[in-house]
Structure formats: C-alpha cells, structure tokens
C-alpha cells in the first residue's frame, strides 16, 4: 500500500515534469509569444516564481545559522535537508530565469564575459554563482560528514560555511534581488525602500514554512521524525515572529498606497482590490489566519502548524505574484492602454514542471543521502 502511494506520487510528479518539458519545447519553437508578456508587462509569472524560489533558497540558510551560532541541536536533523532545499530551489529559480530571458546561453556569460557594473542585474547574477558554489560546497561537506561523522576538520568547515551562508544569502543575494525592483524609478509600486526588508522577511517565512511541511511529510509518509517537540516550539516561535513582520509590512504598504494619494499608489490599490483581489486576499488573510492558528493553543499541534505553513506558502507566492504583476500593470503614461497580464497555458505548464522538478530532485537526493533523525541526534 505504501509503495503504491509512492508510485502514484512519483508518477504524478514525472507526468507534470513532462508536461513542463512540452511547454519548454513549445516556447523554444514558437518563442516568447506563447507567454503572457507584452510591451507593457515585460515580466510575468517566471519572474514571480523566480523571486519565490530564490526566497526559499536564501531563507533556508537560517536553519544552519541557528544551529551553529546559537548551538541549538534540536534543529540538527534539519540541517542537511535545509541545505539540499536551498541548493535545489536555487537551481529551480535559475531555471525560471533561463526560461524567461530570450538568450539563455548568452545570459550565462553575465557577469564574466558580458557585464555592466552600473546594472543591479550584474551583481545579482554574480551573487547567484557565488551562492550556488557556497551551497554546493556545504552540501558536499555535509554529505561527506555522513560517512565520516567524527571528522572534526570537516565539522569546523561546515560550521564556518553555515555561519557565513546566512548573511551572504541575506545581504549578497537578497539585497540585489530586491534592488532589481526597488531601484526601478519608473515603477512607483516597486520604487520603495521597504521592498528590501519585505523581500527578506517573506523569504525567511516561506523557507521555514516549507521546512515545516517537509518535516511533517517525513513523519507521516516516511515515518522519520526530523522535527521533535522542542524544534517544533522554536520553529513556531520563529514563524509567529516573522509572519507578524511580513503582515506589518503588508499593512504598512496598504496605508502608504492609500494615504500618499499619489496617482500610482491609488492605481495600485485599485488593481489590488479589483483584478488582483483573489491573490491580495490570499496574501493578507492567508498570513493573518496562519498567524492566528500559530498563536492559538491549537498551533502547538504539528498538523495545525502544517496547515498554517501551507497557508503561508500560498500567501507568500501570492505576494510575489502581485508585487511583480501589479507593479507593471499601472500605466506608465496617462493615455496608455491598460493591459492586463494573462498567464498562458505554456507558462502554467512550465511553472508546474519546474516545481515538480524541484520536488523530485529533493526527494531523489534525500533517498540518496539518508538524513539522521531527531531521535538519533537526541
């Protein structure tokens, strides 16, 4: 029975992945005309998905940081999983960029052969290479440690890399990523200093939520406990703290959009409450309900924590989508026809395909390197 469920799950993921591949071939043959982008809205769902996955990737480094800086052993079973998640979601995010740009091969030359030091894009692409290299080394070191757990030299190296990975992720990777949007003077919805903390906070929240979901799946399906009672407590506290931060920034955004009485702000508010209302509700109320669940006594139960985490993941993806799309749907000049971004079937197929790839790759890696359980560490 267990094997049948597993087979169905893997078959489903492979089918979605193949559908995604068909979408990629369709886009390569026909061009970006099969996507919803236009002259008025040049960035679509790929960029939104990229920001979402890069958020999970960078946010996952928090686990290693907490373990090694605060010496919290309860999170130790999550360490390898968090690093694997970070690496795979980072690769997934890069796939989204590669599919979004017109010339992915030429894109690989940035920042080495083609560069412009005045462009934030240059720094963000440089940071991805550095971050991929760091996470790959960390991943390999952790994998090696599984075979040789007593190796002190390796442990020291891992400790060092885990400690530097978090500030690198937050400052070197997330700052240029947020700046890609906040430096664009032409788009008032993006050109705000609070975008950066919002971006970083949302990244941490989504990563922790995904880690909680992974912990629950491991317990229920694989029967492996990787999040014990005290780790759960810590994760709950962190989630409450970080979700409150994101909600505060969201509500502050709403106040600024309304009370600044700038035409662009009012237009953004109008778009959020009309054509993007579903995602807006999902973003605000999703986080609010998740916070209430986590704060309540019920929130101590693992299953309720997982429901809150699922809500958080959807809420943050809705936030990323609205940030990218609404920012572009506000007309740049009075008189320009207001164009709506319509996601196409190809984009849905490709996005689902890459997400399936991320889940598949994660599960394959986890089965290749069996992680220690909480009971072993304790």
């Amino acid at each position: 029975m267990k094997n049948t469920k597993k087979t169905i799950w893997y078959t489903l993921l492979i089918i979605i992945f193949i559908i995604g591949l068909v979408g990629v071939i369709n886009q390569i043959v026909q061009g970006h005309v099969v996507t919803g982008i236009s002259k008025e809205i040049p960035w679509g769902v790929y960029v939104a998905a990229f920001t979402f996955f890069i958020g999970i990737s960078t946010g996952s480094t928090l686990i290693g940081f907490i373990i090694h800086v605060f010496n919290i052993k309860d999170l130790k079973p999550l360490e390898f999983r968090a690093v694997a998640l970070s690496l795979i979601t980072l690769i997934g995010a890069v796939f989204f960029v590669m599919l979004d740009v017109g010339n992915p091969i030429r894109m690989m030359k940035v920042p080495f052969l083609l560069r412009n030091t005045t462009s934030v894009f240059f720094y963000s692409s440089l940071s991805y290479y550095a971050f991929i290299a760091l996470m790959l080394f960390l991943f390999l070191a952790l994998a090696k440690l599984k075979k040789d757990p007593e190796n002190e030299k390796l442990q020291k190296r891992i400790r060092f890399m885990s400690i530097i990975a978090f500030p690198i992720a937050m400052v070197i990777v997330l700052v240029p990523d947020g700046a890609l949007f906040s430096f664009v003077k032409a788009r008032e919805f993006w050109n705000r200093p609070l975008i950066l903390p919002h971006f970083a906070n949302a990244a941490l929240v989504s990563a922790l939520a995904v880690i909680v979901i992974i912990g629950y799946i491991s317990k229920k399906i694989q029967n492996v406990e990787i999040i014990n009672e005290s780790a759960r407590k810590l994760l709950r506290t962190l989630l409450i703290f970080l979700v409150s931060g994101v909600l505060f920034l969201d509500l502050f955004d709403i106040l600024v959009l309304n009370y600044s009485e700038k035409p662009e702000g009012l237009e953004a508010w109008h778009l959020l409450t009309t054509s993007h209302l579903y995602f807006f509700i999902l973003n605000i109320f999703g986080l609010f309900i998740a916070l209430l669940l986590l704060l309540s006594k019920l929130g101590r139960q693992f299953s309720v924590m997982v429901i809150a985490s699922i809500l958080i993941v959807f809420a943050i993806s809705a936030y990323r989508y609205n940030l990218i799309i609404v920012g572009q749907e506000i007309p740049l000049l009075e008189g320009i026809e207001v164009l709506k971004y319509k996601i196409t079937l190809t984009e849905v197929a490709i996005s689902a395909g890459i997400t399936s790839f991320i889940i598949l790759a994660y599960q394959i890696i986890m089965s290749m390197f069996k992680s220690p359980t909480a009971s072993i560490t304790n």
């Binding site: 017109g102 940035v110 430096f183």
Partner: protein
C-alpha cells in the same frame, strides 16, 4: 666599498625614476588623447515636436516602420491618444512618442551586458549581439518605448503558402521583388544595426542613426507632412531645435525622474494636462 654601495643606490634610484616616468607616460597617452577628443564638442542630438502642427496623421509611424524594417506589431514611433468628456464637450489628446534618448538613460544603466549604450551623438543605441533578452530595459524605461521580439520576425512574409488559391505565396512575392524577408526591405538599415532584428532581443528607435551619420535627418522628421518634428543638435546654438526651445516653453515626459529626455514637446494645446 662605500662608493660601490652609493653607486648601486644611485643606479636603483635612476631605474625607479625612469620606470615611474615611463608608467606615467603610458597612462597619460590615452588621457591626453581623450582630452583632445573632448575638445571636439560632442553633439547632443534632440527632437522637438510641435503639438499644434502635428495632425496625428501617423506618417511618422509608417515612415519609421518602412525605413527600419520594423516587425509587425512593433512601433518604434508610436502615439498616446486619449478621448475625454461627453459630446459636445469632448477633448482629444494626441501625443507622438518615441525613444527619448535620455541623457541619463535608465535602460543604459540597467542593461546587464551594455547592449544598450550611448553613441557619440548621444543617441541610445542597442547591440543585438550583446542583448540577452532579459527585458530589464523595458521594465526600467518610464516611456514604454522598447519592444521585445518574442517570435521570429515578419512571420507572415516567411509563409510559403499562398493566402488565396492561385496567387503567389508571400515568399514567392518577396523573392520576385528581391527583398530580404520582406519585399519592402531597406538595406541601408543594416549599416549600423541588423537590417531585420533577430528573435528574442529588444528593439527601439535609433533616431535613424544610419541616416544621421550621412548628414540626413531621421525619416520620421523627413516625412512629417506638417513639419511638426524638428531635429537638431542641442550644443549648436544656431540649430532650429535650440531656437524653438528658447522661443516656447517646452515640456518633456516625466521630467521628475531625472532621465533628461531629449524629445521635447512644444506648443501644447493644454499645458496643464500633459504627461509630466
């Protein structure tokens, strides 16, 4: 022994002095040459559009498309129009738009590969061989004047099937007139930019730099039947552009962004209601 030591020190000092002079000379050659170049004042080509002369005929758009072999669905010379009010109190606003060739161009700043760059005349140019198609320039441009070639250009003219039975196919027709992809292909465009831009890169107005190089005016200026477009050098006090900008109060689009656009609008019918 002491003498030998002194000699050695002197030799070393001499060598160091020569090396320093040599290095300084090496660095000063390009510096000197650039000063000479700077002395030859660069041009700052700009355009003024007289809104009271403009009849909204769209000749500029057509002239631009044929001159630059512009792809279907893309307009380098475009317009913004707006109708307001209810009959009989109706207002119609029309604003011709094109790349503003900003002096502080955001597209040039954000392009990760320097595919967007400024030429010596201050024209914002685009190198299709460097463009990665990230469209960051389109996102950063406040004027919505950059387009992306999302599919193979001039697809309709590449069709080998006739539109109607018994007639020539677009490819046959094109071959008969000796066109390159399109029958109305202008080979002159190919001098500074690929005559027909490839798929997956952006494209935009270049102020007909290939004509400007030959001392001509951009095609939209040449073809405007009401002479509403005036082209010239902002550094030349005798140019008509400078004179007109001095005579009237011009406005530029979104001046508050500090992009310093070089397309000026003069004689607006409704000065309070422009896209400032």
């Amino acid at each position: 022994m002491e003498k030998n030591k002194d000699k050695n020190v002197e030799k070393r000092r001499g060598f160091l002095n020569k090396a320093l002079i040599g290095t300084a000379a090496l660095f000063s050659i390009p510096a000197l040459s650039s000063t000479v170049e700077e002395k030859k004042e660069k041009r700052r080509l700009a355009m003024a559009i007289d809104l009271q002369k403009c009849t909204a005929c769209g000749a500029c758009t057509i002239a631009c498309k044929t001159e630059n072999n512009v792809q279907e669905g893309i307009l380098w010379a475009n317009k913004i129009s707006k109708t307001e009010g209810v009959f009989p109190n109706v207002r119609y606003d029309y604003l011709p738009t094109l790349c503003n060739h900003c002096e502080n161009a955001p597209c040039v700043k954000v392009c990760p590969t320097q595919a967007m760059y400024k030429n010596d005349d201050g024209i914002t140019m685009h190198d299709t061989d460097k463009c990665v198609g990230c469209r960051y320039c389109m996102v950063a441009c406040p004027y919505n004047v950059i387009s992306f070639n999302g599919e193979k250009t001039h697809k309709r003219w590449r069709d080998d099937k006739p539109i109607m039975a018994g007639t020539a196919s677009p490819i046959e027709l094109n071959t008969k007139v000796g066109g390159n992809v399109i029958p109305y292909y202008n080979p002159e465009r190919n001098e500074t930019l690929p005559g027909i831009r490839p798929k997956n890169v952006v494209e935009k107005c270049t102020l007909c730099d290939h004509l400007v190089k030959e001392g001509e005016e951009p095609r939209c200026v040449q073809r405007c039947p009401s002479k509403a477009r005036i082209f010239g050098d902002l550094n030349d006090s005798e140019s008509q552009v400078v004179k007109l900008l001095g005579k009237y109060t011009p406005f530029r689009l979104k001046e508050h962004l500090g992009t310093l656009p070089k397309v000026f609008y003069i004689r607006n019918y409704n000065p309070g209601k422009s896209n400032k």
